[in-house]
Amino acid sequence: MSRLLDVRNLTISHGKVEAVRQLNLSLEEGQIVSLIGPNGAGKTTLMAALIGLLPAQGQVSYAGQPLLAHHDVAQRIDKGMALVPESRELFGLMSVEDNLRLGAFSRHRRGFRDHQKTLDEVFGLFPRMYERRSQPACTLSGGERQMLAIGRALMAKPRLLMLDEPSLGLAPRVIGEIFTIFETLRQSGVSILLVEQNARAALKISDYGYVLEVGEIVLEGSAQALANNPQVAEIYLGRPPTRAAMEVTSATGT
């Protein structure tokens, strides 16, 4: 397996704040890798920087080639990266089918014209999208929007699919539906980098995981190892309050 994505010493500053600090991670071709961690850890910032929406310091290489500052979003998409952002960013007033067709824009620009075939494949993966193909995207439910966002990203036939909190706002059952699709995608050759707050769901389908806290990787390992690691719970909910803190609390009589 070759290394598809290699990130070294990545630092991303948001104004004065270092949202991500000296981060290292890597993803092999054909893997599903999860980045879990509590809110505010810097996961969205990381995704935005990888796709080129935000500037960053450090070294990022994709498929063996370095990704430089002047490689803008369109160029990274041409290389086969795709991002499904936390906010979905659908074209609400346009139909489901138009949204999907636009996903093929970068390939269209490069001369490909096989979009109908890809569209059929995406419809096969998400039959509900086929049912609703003429409806405006803003009329879809939360789960359907997520499907549309993923489908749109797939229209570009990406090599590396990055998803930012795909479970956000979704009911548990729908989460299950969508996450099983990731496995299907991996089998068809798409590598997946998943950023999630929902640690259990993410680790369940991943090969490898990183735990991000306040902009730094504090834990990493195989998904199975992380799933059984009690430290992860602590990272999410904080360490139990110390004796000193509890004594102060009782002293003030509350």
Binding site: I51, V73, A74, E89, F91, M94, R101, L102, A104, F105
Partner: protein, 345 residues
């Protein structure tokens, strides 16, 4: 007021209304894609008419020099950027892309006897001279300030307009022009005279609107422009380069403006500074549509044209006052509909 006057005013109103509709469409297009209120849209119209008139007189239009100048400037900027990134291989391609068309036009304009050219060719030359100014303007002026507030973009647009007017005066002088009519026939609809040129204008405007509709609805590039207008971040994420969208929008606007100039040239005397009022009327119509709805903008434009025609006849000095004051309640209503027009910082 008898029927024939009514018909005449209506015809006159609808004709100018058609032009205002095209201006309004261009304004809505550019605003929705780039958040720029293109104050200089009317200048594209006047440039086109003035260029065509100059060609018909057999003279070399100054527009060519403007085009060459802007192309050179843009080419230089892009080349420097490429060299800075170590991509010197791109420079020849840039030279070809930017300087190719202007050079060809130069050769053509220099070689042929301009007054004797067939009308179609003169019109094509005019369109070829004016349309590229749109994307060039975007590259030279707006690209750098693309992420700033709508207010700042508006002030920039005003500055651009003033510059263009000044250049127009320099190139074309202070005299008004009327281009040769494309169709001189006047035929009678019962008792009422109907000018063929007017019909041509209205028909062409409607045809152009139809073509734009088809473009946006059915071609992937058209949909990409629409998408950029709806959601810039989403457009970026599917690989639509925002600069491309900006240049395309400006290019379309310039093309629409150029066609408008060709259409209206024979019917009205245009001066170097007529652009402002044309932009303004189209703008009022666009505002009625909330700077977002094409059909309402187009319909309002026809309304403004007709209103103007009748008010002109009524010698109402207050017609301008009425039209402009009408804008305010519309703006208020729009504001209530979209109260949180927070600017992105």
């Amino acid at each position: 007021m008898d029927i024939s006057i009514l018909a005449f005013l209506a015809q006159d109103g609808l004709t100018t209304g058609a032009i205002y509709a095209l201006v309004a469409l261009a304004l809505v297009l550019v605003f929705s894609v780039t958040r720029t209120i293109l104050v200089c849209q009317g200048d594209f119209v006047t440039y086109s008419a003035l260029t065509l008139a100059t060609l018909q007189l057999g003279l070399m239009p100054g527009t060519l020099w403007l085009l060459l100048g802007c192309s050179l400037a843009a080419c230089t900027l892009d080349s420097i950027a490429a060299l800075r990134r170590g991509q010197s291989r791109r420079v020849p391609g840039l030279l070809a892309r930017y300087l190719g068309l202007p050079t060809v036009l130069w050769v053509v304009l220099d070689t042929f006897e301009l007054a004797g050219l067939p009308a179609v060719l003169q019109i094509l030359l005019t369109l070829a001279l004016v349309t590229p100014l749109g994307p060039l303007l975007y590259r030279l002026v707006y690209q750098r300030v693309a992420e700033t507030s709508v207010l700042l973009l508006l002030i920039v647009s005003v500055a651009v307009h003033i510059t263009l007017v000044g250049i127009s005066l320099l190139m074309f002088g202070a005299e008004g022009v009327r281009t040769d009519a494309l169709a001189e026939a006047v035929f009678m609809l019962g008792e009422l005279p109907v000018g063929l040129q007017s019909l041509l204008v209205i028909a062409s405007a409607l045809l152009l609107i139809g073509l734009l509709y088809a473009f946006f609805g059915h071609s992937l590039y058209g949909k990409a422009l629409r998408a950029t207008a709806l959601n810039r971040k989403g457009a970026q994420l599917v690989g639509i380069p925002t600069q491309l969208a900006g240049k395309a929008a400006f290019g379309l606007a310039a093309l629409i403006g150029a066609i408008s100039g060709v259409l209206i040239g024979p019917l009205t005397t245009l001066y170097y500074d007529s652009g402002f009022l044309i932009s303004l009327k189209g703008f009022v119509a666009a505002i009625f549509g909330g700077l977002a709805s094409y059909p309402i903008a187009a319909a309002s434009a026809f309304f403004v044209g007709v209103l103007e025609s009748f008010a002109n006849f009524g010698a109402s000095a207050y017609k301008e006052v009425i039209v402009f004051t009408l804008v305010i309640p519309v703006l208020l209503w729009l504001s209530l509909k979209h109260p949180h027009l927070e600017e992105q910082h």
